[in-house]
């Protein structure tokens, strides 16, 4: 690869969103676990709740690293997408191979004004998505990729 590509990052709001998701899931689990056990064994309840909170903190660290690992780079002829900490993956998708591009935003993502861009090629195995782009940025990326794809489209 000629030089290190110019990596772009998802929006910083993605990190906030993921952290919030983990925190609220941990909180709900801990409270439920505590309440269920508290009627019979108060000691077990405290231990379980503490364990859940500890696991939550650990996954907070993992989530932070995972989100930071996401990146994409638009190059002249292809798109690079990288992700993953434990299993680090990098995909190279030529613009000409993209069949369609879709932008999705779930309810939580919409709350944060984020969207996920997903690229599809004729091969089922090539999975490339960029999560946590700001909504207008996602639309820009989609339009740009579609345009480049149109210009370089190649047959099967």
């Amino acid at each position: 690869m000629s030089g290190e590509p110019d990596w772009q990052r998802p929006s910083p709001r993605l990190l906030t969103m993921r952290r919030l998701e983990v925190t609220s899931a941990t909180a709900v689990l801990a409270v439920v676990g505590f309440v269920v056990l508290a009627f019979t064994q108060i000691v077990a309840a405290v231990i379980v709740a503490a364990g859940i909170v500890l696991a939550g903190v650990a996954s907070l660290v993992f989530v932070t690293r995972r989100v930071r690992a996401w990146g994409y780079a638009e190059r002249e002829d292809d798109l690079f997408v990288r992700r993953g900490v434990m299993f680090s993956r990098m995909s190279v998708i030529p613009y000409g191979r993209m069949q369609f591009i879709d932008v999705t935003a779930g309810p939580v993502e919409r709350l944060f004004g984020l969207a996920t861009v997903r690229m599809h090629t004729a091969a089922a195995a090539s999975d490339a998505r960029i999560p946590g782009l700001a909504a207008d940025e996602a639309a820009r990326v989609r339009d740009r990729l579609a345009e480049l794809g149109e210009a370089q489209a190649a047959g099967l």
């Binding site: 002829d77 190279v92 369609f100 089922a124 099967l156």
Partner: protein, 428 residues
Amino acid sequence: MSEDSGWQRLHPLSPVVRAGRGTIAIFVILVPTLLGGRGLGSSLPQLAVVGVIAVLGFVQWLVTRWRIEGDDLRIETGVLRRQSLRFPLSQVQAIDIVRPGLARMFRVAELRLRMGGSTASTARLAYLNEKEAEPLRAHLLALAHAGEHAVPPTEELAEEVLTTVPTRRLVASILISDVGIVAELVIAGLIVAAVLTPSAVVGLASGGAAWLFAVATALWRRFNQEYRLTVARAEDGLRLRSGLVALSAETIRPGRVQAVRMVEPLLWRRLGWCRLEVDLAGRQRRRGESGSTGRQLRALLPVGSRALAADLLEHLVPDAPQPTRRAPRRAVVKSPLRWRFLAWERSDRAVVTCTGRVRRVTVWVPLEKVQSFRRVEGPLQRRLRLATVHLDVAGRALHATLRDRDRAEGDEALADLVARARELRRAG
């Protein structure tokens, strides 16, 4: 031969053939009742059901019609839910002629157009007159090649037979294939058990009956499908013909091959045999589909020598390299069984990778067909400074994997292959 305009119907016997086993079952049930002399009165309910089915089949036939419209094949069907299907001929990957046993009896054939692209699906014309099917296929292929203004070929294209698989070798190869060996061992075990303790066998046999039946069906299907498989080369592509009871004929258009796989099971390697399979762009495997049907690839050579396979490969993937670059020694820690076979190589136009634990599997992928590249590095691989590079193609089951390469070599290969594939795309 069809006109380029005007709707056509399928063969009037289509519903009978399509019902297939049902038709046979109806005859088996009805004939004894009628011959039994109890008169029509007692079998009236059965007759009514058969009548309804026959009428439904007839109506289905009546409302189904097809025609060629410029570059498209159009099929209209359905009574309540009317469907109008359009298949662009430029996206045809292959056209098959399939003739199940019953269809052969009535001299009809089914035409199957396998489509690629985003509309990936299969267009079926079931059934046509046997005599019509072959010219229609040639006509459709010509249209697919040249677009609207093609002149339908007036005569059969000349073809050169490349190979035919001898029946004895096919039987032998099935008997010593992985599944075959296991089935034989189980049967041998049952026989030994029967001699020693006859009482225990009944329980064993009834328990394993379903499994044995499934294996026997699978082996039979393979034999039936690959019986006397003949590969011939013609101007419109490679033609495959095979079958014992159900005949099938298909044409693989040049340049439509997404990947080729060579499989060498343990015992076959001793004999220098291998199996060559082709993957074309087509319908992706659906979630609900069972692994065996979705992943089944078309065998180009059910069994043959490596030299013959190399010969055929030449027609499918031009400039095919042989795997020579082996994985580094330390990869044995990550893939202890596979390490022995791990290798890859590239030429100007294709990539080959080799892997496998008991069976050796070699996959060729033309570089211009690669849809995307992926580089993956797992935790153990990072420790060992290894990386895996995947090359994804639009086929149904195959993709090339450069497994457990040295990290630097992997990065270099990725950059190199991406650049080369780009050049080929531009040129093509």
